[in-house]
């Protein structure tokens, strides 16, 4: 079984920045994803199609992959993918093969998780091309253990 490293998060409080995550968009991953999603759009694997549509000369990353990078940042923060409760994003721009993107986030609220132990952390999340434009922005809710939350945050 793959074991995810211990979460980077401790002393979680409102305003805390999530550890960022960087990924380089890979055309080989786009080809795999096109097959998995049964996505017929050739802009994800055929440079000629990309050029014909005036979208540059590199294949365009699938939007869901861009979401996946942000989900990975959240899993690294909480320690597991099963902590994700809600994820909402708006797509703003394309990512092309070879682009380096950075997922970032900040905790905007903490509240007790109804009926369960632990807390729910509301986060603003963002994916941007390093040194370039924003790709997507949105919000996410993740479950965090009480031990990961700053004592001051619990008291207030």
């Amino acid at each position: 079984m793959q074991v995810r490293p211990a979460p980077a998060a401790s002393d979680i409080c409102v305003g805390m920045q999530l550890p960022p995550l960087e990924v380089v968009a890979s055309v080989e991953k786009m080809k795999t994803t096109a097959a998995l999603l049964q996505d017929p759009n050739p802009i994800h694997f055929d440079v000629c199609a990309v050029q014909a549509l005036g979208l540059g000369d590199r294949p365009v990353n699938q939007g869901p992959l861009n979401m996946g990078y942000v989900m990975n940042m959240l899993a690294a923060f909480t320690g597991s993918h099963d902590c994700l409760r809600r994820f909402r994003v708006r797509f703003l721009a394309n990512v092309a093969a070879g682009d380096r993107v950075r997922a970032t986030g900040v905790v905007t609220a903490l509240r007790a998780s109804e009926g369960l132990s632990g807390y729910l952390a509301e986060c603003d999340v963002d994916l941007s091309i390093v040194g370039g434009r924003a790709v997507l922005r949105g919000t996410a809710t993740v479950a965090v253990e009480t031990a990961m939350v700053a004592a001051d945050a619990i008291r207030t």
Partner: protein, 158 residues
Amino acid sequence: MRTGTRASAAVPVELPESIRAQVGRRFPGGVYTVEPYRAWLLADATADRPEDAIAHPLHAWLAATAGMGITWDELFAWFEATAEDGPMIGEHETELHRPVRMNRSYKVSGGIVSVVRKRGRTAGLFDLVEYQLELHDETDGGHAATCRNSIVFPRRGA
């Protein structure tokens, strides 16, 4: 499908009846099984480490769209469009009521929620289609996830 455009500042335009009539239309639906090799490949595609029991949360979206019972081309045709028109993802929301698990089967259901036509200064004329899909665990009927999505259809020729 590539990614979207800023739609919020655009001005609403009247829709053709044939497009408006799609609101409320239900997907045929189906059943999607989270096969480990697909979970592995999807996690790897996002540059993540595949796990044994829990699928990457992106698999909720994959399960929902793969199990909706029609192809992307058929969905585009409901809105008198094709992949060559360049449809784009606008927004996406997933609510996970429980993790998506390996080797589980999920019943997929859903339909078209809304359609609006707008004209933007830079985007030109486009239709914004919202659809929603639900995943229910076939083992116990439990609600696993809700996916809400929007597609932007450019209407260059309209």
